[in-house]
C-alpha cells in the first residue's frame, strides 16, 4: 500500500452535501428492502380486488374502488413508514456502519435529517405508484380521479408525520418497541375526537387540563383525512389543504427536532 501525495485536505462537507449523501444512501438501502415490495404488491392487489368487490355493491361501484384505493394507499404507506423507518437507524447501529459514518465530519442531526429525507423519497415514490394504479383504474372506468388528489396529498402529509415519529422512537429504543409506539401514535392520532369528548365530560380542574394538553399535543391525523370529501365529491373549504400541509409539516419538524436531540445524546457502546 502506498502513501498519498503531499497535499493535505481539510474539508468539512456543506450541510446540504452531507444530508444529500446520507439521504441518497438511505434511499438506496430502503429501495432494496424486501418489505417495501411486499407491501407495494399487497396494496396494488387490494386496488385490483376493489374492482372485483365493486361488483357486489348496488349503485355506485366506483365508490368502492375509491374507498379501498385511498385506504390502501394510506394504510400501506403507514406500514412502510413504520417498518422501514424503525429499522433504518437500528440497522446502522446494529451493524456498526454508523461508527465510520459519524467518525467523518458529519453532525449527528444531519444523519437524522438524511435518513428522514431518504425514507420520505421512497414513501413518495410508493404513494405515487399506488396513486397511478388507482388513477389508471378509475380512468379506465371513465371516472375522473382528480378529486382524489387533495386526499392523497394529505395522506402524504400524514406519512411525513408518522415517519418523523418512527425515526424518533428508533433513536430511543429497539425496533419492536419503536414500531409499537409509532403504531400507538397512529391509532391515537385518529382517536383525538374521543379526547375532545372526554374533555367535555370531565368535571374540570387538573383532569380537564391534562386531557386538553394531550388533545393538543397528539397529532390530529384525522384532520388530514379527506377521504370522505374526495370520494363523495363534497366541497372543500378553500385553504384546507394548505393548512393541513402546514400543520403536518410543522408538526413533523418538531418531532424531527426531538429525534435529533435524542440521537445527539445517544451513547454508542
Amino acid at each position: 500500500m502506498e502513501a498519498a501525495g503531499g497535499r493535505l485536505l481539510v474539508n468539512t462537507p456543506s450541510i446540504g452535501a452531507a444530508v444529500h449523501a446520507i439521504a441518497l444512501n438511505t434511499f438506496r438501502e430502503a429501495i432494496r428492502d424486501r418489505i417495501l415490495y411486499l407491501l407495494l404488491v399487497f396494496a396494488l392487489t387490494l386496488i385490483g380486488v376493489s374492482r372485483l368487490l365493486s361488483l357486489l355493491t348496488v349503485g355506485n361501484e366506483e365508490k368502492i374502488i375509491k374507498d379501498m384505493g385511498l385506504s390502501a394507499i394510506s394504510l400501506f404507506g403507514v406500514l412502510t413508514a413504520v417498518f422501514v423507518g424503525v429499522s433504518l437507524v437500528f440497522k446502522e447501529i446494529e451493524r456498526g456502519t454508523v461508527y465510520t459514518l459519524l467518525a467523518n465530519p458529519v453532525r449527528r442531526w444531519q444523519f437524522v435529517a438524511g435518513k428522514f429525507l431518504g425514507l420520505l423519497t421512497v414513501l413518495a415514490m410508493n404513494v405515487g405508484l399506488m396513486s397511478l394504479a388507482l388513477g389508471g383504474l378509475l380512468l379506465l372506468r371513465g371516472e375522473s380521479p382528480w378529486p382524489l388528489l387533495p386526499a392523497i396529498a394529505l395522506i402524504l402529509v400524514e406519512l411525513v408525520v408518522i415517519t418523523a415519529f418512527a425515526l424518533l422512537f428508533s433513536s430511543l429504543t429497539n425496533p419492536v418497541l419503536a414500531a409499537l409506539m409509532t403504531f400507538a401514535i397512529y391509532v391515537l392520532g385518529h382517536l383525538t375526537w374521543s379526547l375532545e369528548l372526554l374533555s367535555a365530560k370531565l368535571e374540570g380542574g387538573l383532569a380537564v387540563r391534562l386531557v386538553d394538553a394531550l388533545y393538543w399535543m397528539m397529532p390530529n391525523l384525522d384532520r388530514l383525512n379527506l377521504k370522505a370529501t374526495a370520494v363523495h365529491g363534497l366541497p372543500l373549504e378553500p385553504g384546507f389543504v394548505t393548512l393541513g400541509v402546514v400543520y403536518g409539516l410543522s408538526y413533523a419538524v418538531v418531532i424531527l427536532g426531538l429525534a435529533c436531540v435524542a440521537f445527539e445524546r445517544k451513547e454508542f457502546n
Binding site: A228, E237, F240, Y247, S250
Partner: protein
Amino acid sequence: MLPRVLFLVTMAAVGTLAGFSRGALDRLAEGTSAEQELLYLPNGKYLKVMSLGHANLLADGIYLWAIQYYSNYERKQRQRYVEHIFGDVITELDPRYVDAYWLGALIMIVENHDLEAGLRLLEKGIERNPEQWILPYLAAWECYHGKQYSRAAAFFEQAAAIPGAPDVVRRMRAGMMTKVGSLREALALWRAILGESASDRLSVVIAKRKIRELETRLDVETLQAAVDRFRKENGHYPSRLGELERRRYIRALPLASDGRPYRYDAATGTVSSKSGRMLGKL
C-alpha cells in the same frame, strides 16, 4: 451555546406554527366534519368483512360514538342518518345487538317523530332476535304512545307469545284490547291471566279488578243496547230495567258486582252503574 439557543428558538417557532394551523384546521373542520363522519361509515356488511372478526367490537365502538354524537343537542341536522347508522351499520355489524335496535328506534321516534322508521328498525330487530320479548314490547309501547292501539295490541300479543315474557306483557295486551274496544276479547284475556297458575299476585289482583270492570261495562252495554232497541220498537223508554226482562229484550237481568241492580234513568233511557267512579268513563 448559540446553536442550542437557535435550535430551541426554531423549535418554538415551528411548534407555534403547528399550533396555529391546528387551531385553524379545527375551526374549518367544525362545520363539515359532522357530515363527513356520518357519510363515511360504509354499510355494515363491508365493515364486517374489514373488521377481521372484530365486528362485535366495532359495533360497540360505533354504538358508543353514536350515543355521544346524538346526545349532543347542539349539532344541527344530526338526525339525517340515524336510520343508516343504527339500521345499516351497527345492526349489520352485530345483528344481535338488542340495545342498538331500541335506542335507534327511540331516537327516531322521539327526536324525529318518525314512528314508522322506528318501527321498521324494531321489526328488523324482532326478526333477528325472536327470543327477545323486549323488542316487540317496546314496539307496542311506541304504538300506544302514537295512539295506534290495534298495532300496539298486535305487538303485545307477539311479545306475550315469547317464552320468558313477564306478566306485565300479557296485562298490557289485555289493556290494549280494552283500549281498542274489543272488550270481550280483553275479558277473555283477563280471565286467562286469572286462571293461569303461573301468574303472580299482582297480576291476579289486577285481573280480578279488570274482570269486574269489563263485566260491568259489558253488562251496561248490553242493557243499553236493549233499552235502545225497546225504544225503537216501542217508541218510549221502558220505565224500569225489569221490563226488559219481562218483555224478553234480555234473557236475564244482570246485577252489578255489589249485588245491586244497575241504575236506570227512565227519562233519558241511560243505563249506568253505581260504581261509575271506579270504572272511569264508561
